[in-house]
Amino acid sequence: MRFWEKPFGKEKPKTICGEIHIINDRCKGCSFCIEYCPRDVLELSKDFNKKGYHPPIVAKPDMCTFCGLCEMICPDFAIFVTEKEE
């Protein structure tokens, strides 16, 4: 909804941004995180990890909204998100 005026004089709400951390060598390349990221932040890397899988890379870091779905869906505990400190 757009207001002509800011209601109750509030500041524009701060958007929360997340920072994605990938533990490359734990990844088994299942692509769950890439598929289910609502903002398509992740992409499959062309590089291999130690075990020969392609881990994800953060392609659009600014798009991450710290929803944490990648962390929840990852079966290998190889990805997690922290809130970005401004």
């Binding site: 951390h21 990938i22 490359n24 088994k28 299942c30 079966p75 505990f77 997690f80």
Partner: protein, 310 residues
């Protein structure tokens, strides 16, 4: 990317306190849903606010049986099918514990099926999480009691001709206090469900439908773990009002998910306490009770008298 890797050294995975990171990477295949199920379990525990020191997890044998070894709680990896009676003993002997059983469909419903229905019947205060991947994964893809009719497995080379179990139906019919079904794709709802179970009295049963990319998908043309997950997404519907006994899982019908049963009924221990209390009120002391074998049937013990010596 280099930036990310550098920061990794400083920040640790948020589940580090509840997972045995010294045992990672785990043994599960790429595309397996078990890791997601464990994540949901850990998140669910955090959400439930239970004391980790007072929480125990018991597993049986199989791929899911290895869960206990990766969760940093008092964890017991028992024999095949016997996780539930073990957990029953643990819980009854220390009623302060929150006890979870985390095991697979073969463990809980084939070899351990009897224990499950009896624990549900008694309404023992334990929480059973059953990861259903429709097949025996660890032994190489043999038929499970959940393998859908017509699905292929190592021991059903012409397609499965046995009727599968409907797990939620059995749990509900046996008297469980809480029955839910989710897939590993329903990460948040599953987490909530586990948190609910952790704080709920009585026998709680959660079925997690999980992809098995290595054997089930390979034998049945399901593609990768991701393809299975996408299939779950298209096939699953959420209906909390569904009758759990009427929603079997098949190869292509919809997967009905939801919380089907959520009742409050007295647990085994509450019934024991209430029963004993009502009986003991009849007597003022132990001697009186002992001499009254009509009200409480028992073999009376006679004092030894010396006349018997002769």
């Amino acid at each position: 990317m280099a930036n990310n890797t550098a920061q990794l050294q400083e920040k640790t995975h948020p589940m580090e306190d509840l997972l045995r990171m010294d045992r990672m990477p785990h043994i599960w295949c790429s595309g397996c849903g078990l890791g997601s199920a464990v994540t949901a379990f850990v998140e669910g525990l955090k959400k439930a606010g239970v004391s980790y020191d007072k929480t125990a997890i018991v597993s049986g044998i199989g791929c899911t049986g290895r869960v206990a070894g990766y969760v940093r709680l008092d964890s017991y990896h028992t024999t095949h099918g016997r996780a539930i009676p073990f957990a029953t003993g643990l819980k009854l002997a220390n009623r302060d514990l929150t006890v979870f059983v985390f095991s697979g469909d073969g463990d809980l419903f084939a070899i351990g099926g009897n224990h499950l229905i009896h624990a549900a019947r008694r309404n023992v205060d334990i929480n059973v999480i059953c990861v259903n991947n429709f097949i025996y994964g660890m032994t190489g893809g043999q038929n499970a009691p959940t393998t859908p009719l017509g699905a292929y497995s190592s021991t059903a080379p012409f397609g499965n001709y046995e009727m599968p179990f409907n797990l939620v139906g059995i749990a509900a019919a046996s008297g469980a206090s809480y029955v839910a079904r989710w897939t590993t794709m329903h990460a948040r709802r599953l987490t909530d469900s586990i948190a609910t179970a952790a704080n709920k009295k009585g026998f709680c049963f959660i079925e997690i439908v999980s992809p098995c990319a290595t054997v089930f998908a390979r034998k049945n043309g399901g593609g990768t773990g991701l393809d299975l997950l996408k299939e779950f997404q298209t096939r699953s519907i959420i209906d909390h009002e569904a009758d759990p006994t009427q929603i079997p899982l098949t190869m292509d019908n919809e997967i009905v998910c939801g919380e089907f049963v959520n009742e409050d009924s007295p647990t085994f221990w509450e019934n024991v306490q209430a029963g004993i209390k009502s009986q003991l009120e009849k007597f003022s002391n132990w001697e009186e009770m002992q001499s009254n074998s009509r009200k409480i049937p028992h073999k009376t013990i006679r004092k030894y008298t010396s006349s018997r010596d002769s």
